[in-house]
């Protein structure tokens, strides 16, 4: 009886095991990737010869939190691509689960909003899982070093999702400003509420 109960618990444990959230930690070197952009071309980090780093943002069309941040993401790219820290947006959602995040819908969105940065599809969540992204929006700032692209910040864009607090702390801006001046970001990890990634149903 006891072993049966133990077995039940073990099975329950396996059954309820959440998606792996290992992913990158601050300080890790991020592997390059090749993902399809909304213009049909493949994008890799190594394509950006002059970049000093990247603001990689897992975001999507359909999450209301991501929508609330869309304009701020566009502005981050405008401001920081000039400093050679461009935005690279990756849609981590499975279009089978979330039809509003299909490749065609991504193309529509990017055109409509005039995205000046790549908006990439990650069909089998390979890059999403490697990074350890769990939600949209979820930011990973990378800094190009001789050892590779070092993860220098993981977390939120700022602490004001609603966009009503003029005294907000702009985490991503502060982190990139620090990196651009050769310093370590004072805050390298933050947390914020976001939409769970829509994983492919196995």
């Amino acid at each position: 009886m006891k072993s049966l109960m133990t077995l039940c618990f073990v099975l329950t444990g396996l059954f309820l095991k959440a998606q792996p959230v290992a992913g990158y930690q601050v300080g890790d070197i991020a592997k390059d990737f090749s993902l399809k952009n909304v213009d049909g071309k493949t994008v890799s980090l190594s394509d950006f010869k002059t970049a000093k780093g990247f603001i990689v943002i897992f975001t999507c069309n359909t999450c209301p939190v991501a929508n609330a941040y869309e304009q701020r993401i566009i502005e981050l790219n405008t401001k920081y691509s000039k400093l050679d820290y461009p935005v690279i947006a990756v849609n981590p959602n499975d279009p089978g689960v979330q039809p509003g995040d299909s490749f065609e819908k991504m193309q529509e969105r990017a055109t409509e909003k005039g995205y000046a940065f790549p908006y990439l599809l990650d069909p089998d969540h390979l890059v999403t899982k490697r990074f350890g992204a769990t939600k949209t929006p979820h930011v990973f700032i990378l800094q190009k070093t001789s050892a590779g692209n070092r993860v220098s910040y993981i977390g939120a864009i700022d602490n004001d999702t609603e966009g009503t607090n003029t005294g907000r702390t702009n985490y991503v801006e502060e982190a990139v400003n620090a990196l651009a001046t050769g310093q370590k970001p004072a805050t390298s990890t933050t947390k914020a509420v976001g939409c769970a990634i829509k994983w492919k149903k196995s």
């Binding site: 914020a192 509420v193 769970a196 990634i197």
Partner: protein, 161 residues
Amino acid sequence: MNSLRIIIGLILLLSTTAMKAQEVRLITIHQLEERIASGKDTTYIVNFWATWCAPCVAELPGFEKLRLAYEGKPLKILLISLDFKSKLEPAVKPFVRKTGLKNEVLLLNESNQQEYIDRISKDWSGAIPATLFANGGKKVRKFYEKELTFEELNTIYQSFK
């Protein structure tokens, strides 16, 4: 005659109160922890959701079913909305009225996500839906950052007994 009027009036008042949707009150993390701690042998299932979160809304019926399955048992389900406070009147209350949720619905009265996410669980990245199971008397807590079906909720609740 007068007393009859008063009684009828009272009955009418009570019946309209009963039909009215529940009030949605605010709750801080501190107040939540106090409720869990003072709940003794009651297992609290605390679901973090929002009206804008489609998978959250989709899993709410499972929590309602669980409430019915264990009526009279030491189980308390709290549905804590992470909608902005400014959305309490325009979004959360109409949603509760429309869906007729019977589990207690609350709105989180916290502004610092950096702080409160970790206070609920270090394992929480901030993605919702997310659900905390806690029993103050047994000092047991389990946290799930994922959608849970009725069967999964039931299995986890059973493991707390």
